[in-house]
C-alpha cells in the first residue's frame, strides 16, 4: 500500500491581504512524480515555497508523513529538510562558491563524512548529472543548463526522499529540457525518491508526471487533480483540457523535431 508523503490540508496562501489560492488540499504518494501546474501567476511557486517552509500559510496545514510541518519548530523542520533535495527556479547555487563547494554544502551540513569522502561523493554526484571535471568552476562560469544540472547534483547530494523542482526546464532549449526531464526520471528511479515539481513547461508534464494538480488563477482554487492524461480527456473544466491539449501538441511537435 502506498502512503502519503505529503498531505496538504485546506491550505490558504496570501501575501498580506492579497489572496493567492484558497483551500488547496492534496496528497503526494510515495514514489509519485507530482506536478503542480497552472497558468502564470496562479501561485505555483508560492505553493512550493509553502511546502518548503519558506512562507507561512494563512490557513490550513502541511503534513509530512506523520509530522505536522506547519506546527513544527525550526529544529524539527530542519530534521525533515535533511531528507529533501531542492532545486530553485534560478538554480539557487551560491554564486561565491565553486560547484564542488556547492554540492558539498549539504554533505558538510548533515553528514559526518571525512573531507576526502565528501570530495569523492561530490565527484560522483557531479558525474551523475554529467558535470564531473567542473568542480572548480563558479556558477557564473557555466551555462544556464549546466547550472540547473549542478543544482540537481546538490539536491541529490544526500540521497533525499523527496525532490522538489521549481520550473526545472524553464529557460532551456527543447533538447536540454528533454535531457533534464530524462535525468530527473532516471534519478528518481534509481533513488526511489518522490518528486514534486512546479512547471508550466507542458511537454515535461506528459513526459514524466503520474499525478498532478491544476491551480486556477481566476477562481484562486485548485480546480483539478489526478493523472494528467486522464485530466486532459476527462476534466470537467474546459480550461484544464485546453491547457493540457496544448501541452500534448507541444509534446508531439517536440517529438518530431
Amino acid at each position: 500500500m502506498t502512503e502519503a508523503v505529503i498531505s496538504v490540508r485546506e491550505l490558504t496562501m496570501a501575501y498580506g491581504s492579497r489572496l493567492i489560492q484558497q483551500d488547496v488540499s492534496f496528497d503526494v504518494m510515495r514514489g509519485d512524480i507530482f506536478v503542480i501546474m497552472g497558468g502564470s501567476g496562479c501561485g505555483k511557486s508560492t505553493l512550493l515555497k509553502h511546502l518548503l517552509g519558506l512562507l507561512e500559510p494563512a490557513k490550513g496545514e502541511i503534513v509530512y508523513g506523520e509530522q505536522n510541518f506547519t506546527r513544527s519548530g525550526p529544529g524539527e523542520r530542519q530534521k525533515l529538510r535533511q531528507n529533501w533535495g531542492i532545486t530553485y527556479q534560478s538554480g539557487g547555487l551560491i554564486s561565491a562558491m565553486s560547484l564542488a563547494d556547492n554540492v558539498a554544502l549539504p554533505l558538510e551540513q548533515y553528514s559526518n563524512y571525512s573531507k576526502a569522502d565528501i570530495r569523492d561523493i561530490v565527484a560522483l554526484k557531479l558525474a551523475l548529472v554529467g558535470l564531473d571535471g567542473y568542480q572548480e568552476f563558479l556558477p557564473a562560469e557555466i551555462s544556464g543548463g549546466m547550472r540547473k544540472r549542478a543544482a540537481l547534483a546538490r539536491a541529490i547530494a544526500l540521497d533525499p526522499d523527496i525532490l522538489f523542482f521549481d520550473e526545472p526546464s524553464a529557460g532551456l532549449d527543447p533538447i536540454s529540457s528533454r535531457r533534464l526531464d530524462d535525468l530527473i526520471l532516471q534519478l528518481k528511479e534509481s533513488t526511489g525518491a518522490s518528486v514534486v515539481m512546479v512547471t508550466h513547461e507542458l511537454p515535461s508534464i506528459f513526459a514524466i508526471a503520474n499525478n498532478a494538480i491544476y491551480l486556477d488563477a481566476d477562481s484562486k482554487r485548485m480546480i483539478e487533480s489526478g493523472n494528467p492524461s486522464w485530466m486532459r480527456e476527462h476534466s470537467e473544466h474546459a480550461v484544464v483540457r485546453q491547457f493540457l491539449n496544448r501541452a500534448a501538441e507541444q509534446a508531439a511537435a517536440g517529438g518530431d523535431s
Binding site: 530542519q78 529538510r81 535533511q82 529533501w84 534560478s90 538554480g91 539557487g92 551560491i94 554544502l105
Partner: protein, 369 residues
C-alpha cells in the same frame, strides 16, 4: 478632402458620429455622453458615416462603454467597420482591474513630517530587530556553533580591510590637509601657526579619522554588502541556504559584520596617521618646521583622543554593517530591488553615522572625556 468631424444627438436619442476624426480639432463628446446616459434603454451610437478613424475616437468610445458598463446599460455601436469591431472586442474583453497597485508611489508628493518621522521610527525598530538576530548569530559563532565558513570570513576581511586602503589613504591625507588649512588661516592671525598641529591631531583622532573612514566604508563596503546580499536574494540563494539548514545570518551576515568590526579600528588608526602627515605638509608650507610640528603633536595626542576615535570606529562599523546587511537581506526579488537596497544601505548608514557621531560627542562632553 472628407468632411470635418461632427457629433450630434438625433431625435430618437442616437448619437451620430461622422466625418474625419483625424483632424486636429475635434468636437467634444463628453457632454453628449452625459445627455446620452440620461436616456432610457440601450445606448445607441451610429458611426456609419465616420470616414477616417482615429485613436482619440476609439478611446472615447471605450470610455463610453466603461460608463455604460458602470451604469449597467447596453451599448450598441452601429455601422462599425470590421477592424474597429475587432479592436473594440479586444479592448472590452477584460474588465478593468478595480484594485490599486500595491505600491503607488506618488511622484513629488511632499510627505508630512509626521509620516517621515514614523518611517524613521519603523526603520530604527527594524534595525534593532536585525541587530538582535545578528547578535545571537554572532554569539553562536563565537561559541563555535555556527554555519559561518572560514573562507567567507577571510574574503570579507580582505574586502573590508586591505582592499579599502587605497581610497582611505587618499581621503585621510586630504582631510588632514583641509583641517590644517582651515586652522592655519585662523591661527596665523594670532601668530600661533604652530598650534595647527594640535588642531589636526585632535581633529583627526577624535573626529575626522573615524567619520571620514566610516563614510567611505559606508559607500564602499556597506553598499557592496547590500548589493551582494540582495543579488543572492534575487537568485534564490538565500532560500537555498535556508532550506539547507544553514542560518543565512550566520552564513552571510556574521562574517561580513565581524570583518568590518575587526578592520574598521585598524583603518581608523591608519587614517589618523595619514591625516596627521597631510596636516604636516600644509603646516610646513605655513612655516612650521617638522620638528616644531612633532613636538607639538607630542603634547596634543593623548590616549583618550585616540581611544575616542577607535571606539567611534567600532560603533560606526556596526552601524554600517547593519544598514548594509539589513538592506540586502530584506530586499525584494527583482533586479530593481538590488539598486534600491544599495541606495538604502548608503543613505541609512550615513544618517546613522552622523546621528551616532553627534550623540557620542554630546556624551563625551557630558562625561568630560
Amino acid at each position: 478632402m472628407s468632411e470635418s468631424a461632427t457629433a450630434s444627438l438625433s431625435a430618437d436619442d442616437q448619437l451620430l458620429i461622422a466625418g474625419d476624426w483625424s483632424a486636429a480639432v475635434l468636437p467634444t463628446l463628453d457632454s453628449l455622453f452625459t445627455t446620452l446616459l440620461e436616456t432610457e434603454g440601450p445606448l445607441k451610437v451610429d458611426v456609419t458615416s465616420v470616414t477616417v478613424w482615429d485613436p482619440r475616437l476609439e478611446a472615447k468610445l471605450l470610455h463610453l462603454q466603461r460608463l455604460a458598463y458602470a451604469g449597467q446599460r447596453q451599448l450598441e455601436l452601429l455601422g462599425t467597420p470590421d477592424s474597429q469591431t475587432q479592436l473594440f472586442k479586444l479592448a472590452t474583453a477584460v474588465a478593468p482591474y478595480a484594485g490599486t497597485a500595491a505600491t503607488s508611489s506618488g511622484l513629488f508628493t511632499l510627505k508630512n513630517l509626521r509620516s517621515t518621522l514614523a518611517d524613521i521610527g519603523d526603520d530604527l525598530l527594524e534595525s534593532l530587530e536585525f541587530l538582535g538576530a545578528t547578535t545571537s548569530a554572532v554569539l553562536r559563532t563565537l561559541l563555535g556553533r555556527s554555519g559561518m565558513r572560514r573562507r567567507e570570513f577571510i574574503e570579507s576581511l580582505a574586502q573590508a580591510g586591505p582592499q579599502a586602503m587605497g581610497i582611505i589613504t587618499l581621503t585621510s591625507v586630504l582631510v588632514g590637509m583641509i583641517l590644517a588649512y582651515l586652522g592655519a588661516a585662523q591661527l596665523q592671525q594670532f601668530g600661533a601657526a604652530v598650534f595647527v598641529a594640535d588642531l589636526v591631531a585632535i581633529g583627526m583622532l577624535r573626529e575626522m579619522g573615524a567619520l571620514m573612514t566610516a563614510i567611505v566604508m559606508a559607500g564602499r563596503t556597506g553598499a557592496a554588502y547590500a548589493a551582494q546580499l540582495s543579488t543572492m536574494q534575487t537568485n534564490e540563494e538565500i532560500d537555498a541556504i535556508t532550506t539547507l539548514g544553514i542560518n543565512p545570518l550566520e552564513f552571510l551576515v556574521v562574517p561580513r559584520m565581524l570583518a568590518l568590526l575587526l578592520m574598521m579600528p585598524l583603518l581608523v588608526v591608519y587614517a589618523d596617521a595619514l591625516g596627521i602627515v597631510g596636516g604636516a605638509v600644509v603646516a610646513g608650507g605655513m612655516g612650521v618646521t617638522p620638528l616644531q610640528y612633532i613636538s607639538q603633536l607630542d603634547s596634543a595626542i593623548t590616549i583618550t583622543h585616540f581611544l575616542v576615535g577607535v571606539v567611534k570606529g567600532l560603533i560606526f562599523a556596526l552601524l554600517i554593517a547593519i544598514a548594509g546587511c539589513r538592506a540586502g537581506m530584506n530586499a525584494g526579488r527583482n533586479s530593481e530591488a538590488v539598486g534600491r537596497a544599495t541606495t538604502e544601505a548608503v543613505v541609512t548608514a550615513v544618517v546613522y553615522l552622523i546621528v551616532a557621531d553627534a550623540a557620542i560627542n554630546i556624551l563625551c562632553q557630558l562625561l568630560g572625556i
